[in-house]
Symmetry: C2
């Protein structure tokens, strides 16, 4: 008998038919003899409806009130799923975040979990009742409702799994697992059976939308095995877990393409200590999140500093960077939006040399110019011309041996 947390996202509980289907999946695991805790998101569309109502009132609603408003979506789903389970003959009980003791700080709309009092969940499990928990929410020290921000329900699921020492946390989505690349872009992409926390984190940060990086960090910190699988398929999905010997011996686990970046180049920066710091402090004070940063060694005591920001922030960044450039005596500031970031991720890079060279050669062989490069221990990213993005993803996917033998419906991978 295992103890399993099963989390279902918004598309999995979009309507009553799907909620019934989800109840069936939970019931099956329960009937196999496992202890089950279900965690649910709001029904797809519900949260958008509530946000729309709030924005009809004011473009800038208070965070505390938004949390009171939005948290109701998950409560609704939890009650409906508990009803569906009871109807299936599985005793079940809905719980709000407060009721299962999810205590957070007071940062409304993006609260952090501070502690979990798992007593009520334990009691429910002892009674043989399946707890159905409203995800995404907790309660602040002043007893106000808080929400956990993006990926909040995944975080709820992982945190509860840790609190009750579950054997595993299963995240049910509308895809069959984690893929070596986006199957829409790389038809020969295949589903991974296992992936390490570190790789999953890099892939989440690079834009693979299956899991939010926060829940992966949480799982990694507490060594909680995560499984990503589809509500609508019997595929066992992808296990996200600690790196171990039994893991497939692949150098690279996945290829991701991020089309949402813009490049900014500050030219002719005088080569004096502290000028780069001045620039990035100013950007950070304006809440701009900078991704890649490259500083070229220049001539005549002048350097170029290049970096990338989310494309939606390009104009704001340009304005601020130009201010700073004037102040520090740098030259012109240029932006480019027609670029993409292609990345490879894999723990195998730690023990394999030449991975970067192989990636650069592959791009060169296709005549693709590299604008910027940045690397971490298990990741290599190259900024390239946007128009070559999909081609680059496919050839790199192939180069590192990730292709399936037969292209086809990747969901059957």
């Amino acid at each position: 008998m295992s103890r399993i947390v099963m989390k279902f996202g918004g598309t999995s509980v979009r309507d009553i038919d799907r909620i019934r289907h989800v109840a069936g999946r939970v019931a099956k695991v329960r009937r196999e003899g496992h202890e089950v805790v279900a965690v649910v998101s709001a029904m797809a569309g519900d949260t958008d409806r509530l946000i729309r109502l709030a924005h009809e009132i004011t473009p800038d609603p208070s965070d505390r009130e938004l949390d009171m408003l939005l948290s109701s979506g998950e409560r609704i789903t939890s009650a409906l799923l508990a009803m569906a389970l009871s109807t299936d003959g599985i005793p079940a009980r809905s719980f709000s975040g407060r009721q299962v003791g999810i205590h957070t700080d007071s940062t409304h709309t993006k609260a952090r979990i501070e502690r979990i009092d798992g007593a009520r969940l334990e009691q429910s499990l002892r009674e043989g009742v399946v707890p159905v928990v409203a995800g995404f929410q907790g309660i602040s020290p002043s007893e106000d409702v808080t929400t956990l921000g993006r990926g909040g329900s995944d975080t709820t699921a992982v945190a509860l799994a840790v609190a009750i020492a579950a054997d595993r946390c299963d995240i049910y989505t509308d895809v069959t697992g984690v893929f070596t690349a986006d199957p829409n872009m790389v038809p020969r992409a295949r589903k991974l059976d296992r992936i390490s926390y570190e790789e999953m984190l890099e892939m989440a940060a690079l834009g693979a939308k299956v899991l939010h990086s926060r829940s992966v960090e949480f799982a990694m910190r507490y060594r909680m095995p995560l499984r990503v699988l589809s509500t609508f398929s019997e595929d066992p999905g992808t296990l996200v877990t600690e790196e171990d010997r039994t893991m497939e011996q692949m150098v690279v686990s996945g290829v991701t393409l991020d089309r949402n970046q813009a490049q900014v180049v500050v030219c002719d920066v005088p080569d004096r200590p502290g000028l780069a710091a001045t620039l990035f402090r100013e950007l950070s004070d304006n809440a701009l999140i900078v991704d890649m940063i490259v500083q070229n060694v220049g001539q005549d005591h002048l350097t170029d500093i290049s970096f990338t920001v989310p494309r939606s922030e390009a104009r704001k960044t340009l304005r601020i960077a130009r201010d700073v450039a004037t102040r520090i005596g740098a030259g012109q500031v240029k932006t480019r939006e027609d670029i993409s970031k292609i990345s490879i991720v894999g723990v195998g890079m730690r023990s394999h040399s030449g991975v970067a060279a192989r990636m650069f050669e592959t791009l060169a062989a296709e005549g693709i110019n590299i604008l910027m490069i940045s690397t971490s221990e298990i990741k290599i990213s190259c900024l390239i011309d946007e128009k070559y993005g999909e081609l680059a993803a496919r050839v790199i996917h192939s180069t590192f041996g990730l292709d399936r033998n037969e292209p086809g419906d990747p969901s059957r991978g």
Copy 2:
């Protein structure tokens, strides 16, 4: 400066435009220097939508889960109204039933309030922040969400008003107040400026739908003045309060017609002690609520027992009454559904004689036969042929001097 609880029903907060309008009304009272607590129902239609979802899953959802589900409607409205008030420049904060300390028993879907811890409301008022409370809900000793059943938000408002020693509880509806009769039936009906708790209770029990009798009972017990008024008009409404000298010296305050009754007659019941008790015990054990009861003195030691029940229960009642009749050796059992109950209510009856006679004479003058009569200290009801119902209401309304001088739009009364 007064302390006022303002409660808004579902039609008053049906959409964002109306929520904005409600915010305007609350803001106006606040700006006049009063301390205000707002209590809200779910947006009209929201509760029905949630019930429909539950019934798509099961015809018989658990009461605990229904409460979790339905309580979200009021939470949504409270957050939206708090946002609208803040946008209007009035600091406001939403609260769930739990957050304002509404402790109930564990009877899900029709919980009773056991105590209220008003500390958080007091704190909010001290800070100059308008609390916006989700009506209809509380929390059980096991920390589960409960709802208060029909008229629940009115009850929330009155109970909070009592807990914080408010000067008054204003119930905003879609009518301008309590009328001497249903204006759709009696065009000359007029709005009452004041009415006593006792009269309001009788009228609520008789089917005047403005206030649920439970909230009136609560207000009466704690002597909390209630005001019924319209969200959409500047009319001061009707004050429901203790009977006092300044009250209009009317014998009768209102006329009501209940079309939802059925008459049952058990004929030829042997005149022995305990037989009537047997009948009504059996009906009560089957959860049938009997309204009027009349036992005629009969001949030959046989009596007829007549009573009324809600029309929807007529067939069930007939079946049970026939069983009992057989057992106790009574005669046939007959039902009639084409009847109505016309009633007059007024504390003036206590000090005026001849009121009943005047009512009977008025009906007789129109050739209306009386099938049954029942009276209380401040109420007289007659069961009559359904087809004469509206005529009876109009002539009695006139006889007791309730008519306005000019018929017309009663909402402008």
